[in-house]
Symmetry: C2
DNA sequence: CGCTCCTACTTTGTACACAACTTCGGAGGT
DNA sequence: ACCTCCGAAGTTGTGTACAAAGTAGGAGCG
């Protein structure tokens, strides 16, 4: 659990989220064990944790495969995220234990990448943005962070901020700043409203880019394993 | 994963929820392995799953112990449950794919135990009630059931319907019936409202019985391992 | 030609042995 | 008397071997 297993988990986790492991592809224990140069034992533990995260599905005596999410499921997750993160923002504002300085620092670091043309800038923004939201989750209560992890990671799969236009980025960062203001004011209603609109905007953007990304490839009409569910 | 591990997981899960394993007590792999007559390997897998459920906490090189939940944390979980189950009820009503016949059957079976004096009746009602709520969760979307499991199981620890008075039971069952009506009507607002009041009532009952159970024992002021968190 | 059954292979599930880490106790020094 | 350091006991982490289950391919039969 502590060292080898953690490393395998973290690496597989990243591979799945960045698209190195395609949804539907199988994960064989031995193959992964060889790749990382470890035995199957820590690999198994890592796979169980990924399964608990909802990122892969374990089938008895058959192995694991990366979960495929239909568009409807992602829509549902956006709704849940809106609900739970709105709640987290409200609670964080009311309890007043949120680390405002840290949030402002994260805002500044994200804004510093506004005119950054380096392709890796999107990854960095994604990381900072995740940390920004997580900070609010933690301030919202004890049970919220774990719950939100399951809801957020999935729609984030294969999606980073490189799909955002400069204008969308600017608006998104502006909402972050307003969120910090609402939290600083201790106004739960305000914080929840900003968070909800922030996430609705993200969903709208996702819908737009999804349509653009879908048509060219043309691999959607098949729905290989989804139809039997 | 399939046979031995599942059995160990299910048994430990039940032991924790029924109070056989007290919060704060440690779980040693070897002891559990001997008790069940299996090796440590499936025991480890079961412990990881319980950890993912939020029922136990794993400490590297030290072992696992049953999670202690403070009263404030349980309050928070009731809030989240209210939020998510209300959402589930709304969605279930709007989508109209809920199995109304099954819900009515579960209602009838619960009501049949209203005048049952058998002490095991409370366990049966708890089981039926859980199934009633789960049916609605499933009708509310794909991601909701797993999410709600984590939120609901914890406050249910060591608590069954034997603490309910006959009047509380009757009111609770009446709310179930009204919920079915709201779902049948496809009225999302109605369904959500009924669900939320149903759960708020449950929380009020929990608060009352908690105060009664707390004072006699007098073991609360110590807070053994909680103070360091 | 198609269907069924059987065998061989692939992959996961469990047991067991050893290594690594943490913790607690006592001996020694200041 | 107290603090520090060292060592032994106990518990988890990892590696490896074997058992069990599932899957796919081909041979035999209808």
């Amino acid at each position: 659990m502590t060292q080898t297993s953690d490393r395998v988990y973290a690496d597989l986790h990243r591979e799945i989220l960045t698209g190195g492991r395609v949804p539907g592809s199988r994960l064989r224990e031995e193959e992964i064990a060889e790749t990382f140069g470890v035995s199957r034992t820590p690999v198994r533990e890592a796979l169980r944790r990924l399964s608990a995260d909802g990122l892969i599905e374990l089938i008895p005596h058959r192995g694991a495969e990366v979960v495929r999410w239909a568009a409807d499921d992602i829509e549902e997750l956006f709704d849940l995220r809106c609900l739970l993160e709105g709640h987290a923002a409200r609670r964080a504002a009311q309890r007043g234990e949120v680390d405002l300085e840290r949030l402002r620092e994260l805002c500044a670091r994200m804004e510093a990448h506004l005119d950054d043309t380096d392709p890796r800038a999107a990854d960095e923004i994604t990381r900072l943005n995740m940390e920004f939201h997580r900070t609010i989750h933690r301030a919202g209560g004890r049970a919220l962070p774990d719950l939100l992890t399951r809801v957020i990671e999935v729609p984030v799969v294969r999606r980073t901020f490189d799909e955002y236009s400069a204008e969308e980025l600017r608006r998104s960062f502006g909402q972050h700043r307003e969120l910090v203001n609402a939290l600083a004011a201790g106004d739960g209603d305000w914080a929840e409203a900003v968070m909800r609109s922030h996430l609705r905007a993200a969903r709208a953007s996702w819908r737009t880019h999804r349509r653009q990304a879908e048509l060219p490839t043309g691999q959607e009409p098949r729905t290989p394993e989804t139809d039997k569910d």
